[in-house]
């Protein structure tokens, strides 16, 4: 304790309204005041979640080409704090890339259920909106009937810039509407239509 006090004395009192990078103790106290003293904990959750979106490695269709290109050096979506990750248990965002077939619909629901709260979905491409070019196929489901979708991206396929834009849009939604903190309080998304029951989706599933 005594060393702390003496070091602070040497640095002098912290200037109001500024964060000091060099003086760690002062910076930490100032940050705590800023974040906890004046801000609700829910806001902190939203702020933190918005900058740590982890999409799961779950490619449903051909828009996956552009999904891969989005994290490539040219577009580099990692700078928005989003990086595709392997296990659904460690992720909180699912990007539905294009058509979801009936066989994939069950897999999509199973992956979604394995992800921890709060979690979000981006539907990418015309097929994920309403079937796109395969609108009358007998083997597709609409993704928004399987999981609650937050952001839709039109295009066939959407450009990587559009996907990067959707991530920024999702960050804005989370921070402005407090989606992440609300989800924690309520546990369910009341604002989205009820999805298809799992028994219907997965009646044939083996494994």
């Amino acid at each position: 304790m005594s060393t702390l006090r003496s070091r602070e004395a040497r640095a002098g009192p912290p200037e109001e309204g500024r964060l000091y990078v060099g003086n760690l103790d002062a910076a930490a106290r100032r940050a705590r005041e800023l974040l906890l003293g004046k801000m609700k904990l829910g806001k902190l959750v939203d702020w933190g979640t918005a900058f740590s979106l982890w999409p799961v490695h779950f490619t449903t269709s051909c828009c996956g080409c552009e999904f891969a290109a989005t994290w490539s050096p040219r577009f580099d979506a990692e700078r928005y704090g989003a990086l595709p990750w392997l296990s659904p248990r460690q992720t909180n965002l699912i990007v539905i890339e294009g058509t979801v077939t009936k066989k994939m619909g069950c897999a999509l629901r199973l992956v979604w259920e394995q992800m921890p709260h709060p979690k979000f979905a981006i539907a990418m491409g015309a097929c994920a909106l309403d079937g796109g070019i395969f609108y009358n196929s007998y083997n597709i489901v609409r993704p928004w009937e399987v999981v609650p979708v937050d952001v839709f991206i039109p295009g066939c396929p959407p450009r990587p810039e559009a996907l990067a834009r959707a991530i920024v849009e999702l960050q804005r939604l989370i921070r402005e509407k407090g989606v992440a903190s609300k989800w924690i309080e309520e546990g369910e998304r009341e604002d989205k239509p009820a999805p298809i029951p799992k028994e219907d989706l997965c009646s044939w599933w083996r494994g």
Partner: protein, 167 residues
């Protein structure tokens, strides 16, 4: 060697087995009765046609048949590789059954499974005849048959596997 030479090689191998020849653009197909198709396949294989490019099935409800064509060609013989030869079998639409050729051409194995689910053609002697692409409830409907009609819109009425189509 021209395409005619490929054709004559196949004709020679199938002599006495085929009942008709069909000229397509880019291929020539020999019509073979279903009970002699194994014999025909063995003859083609020993003539150098070593793999199946496509197991093509076409539903013809007007004639009441499903036509299954094995389009074969060769990797090992560069001269035969220039042409594509088919052997066509006509099967009755209500009970399509034929011997499997995947014992002779392993490359036909997955494609026969595909024809099985989309057309309901049963390949006798196939090592593993299950649906490959579709979920089991859909595979029972044999969607590539002409009487499976794709409507413009579909609505969900409880039960994704029995997705209803509006009239």
């Amino acid at each position: 060697m021209s395409l005619d030479a490929v054709r004559s090689r196949a004709e020679e191998a199938l002599r006495g087995v085929y009942t008709g020849v069909e000229e397509g653009k880019g291929f020539v197909a020999f019509r073979v009765p279903a009970e002699r198709v194994v014999e025909a396949a063995e003859a083609l294989k020993s003539a150098g046609f070593d793999h199946v490019k496509s197991v093509t099935a076409v539903d013809r409800p007007k004639e009441g048949v499903i036509e299954v064509t094995y389009h074969v060609s060769s990797y090992s013989d560069p001269e035969l590789a220039r042409g594509i030869v088919g052997i066509t079998v006509s099967l009755p639409r209500d009970n399509p059954r034929m011997p499997s050729l995947s014992r002779i051409w392993v490359s036909a194995e997955f494609q026969e499974r595909e024809v099985f689910e989309f057309f309901g053609v049963v390949f006798e002697g196939h090592p593993d005849l299950r649906p490959i692409l579709l979920i089991p409830p859909l595979a029972e409907k044999h969607p590539l048959r002409k009487d499976f009609i794709v409507k413009e819109e579909q609505v969900y009425k409880g039960g994704i596997t029995k997705l209803e189509q509006p009239p």
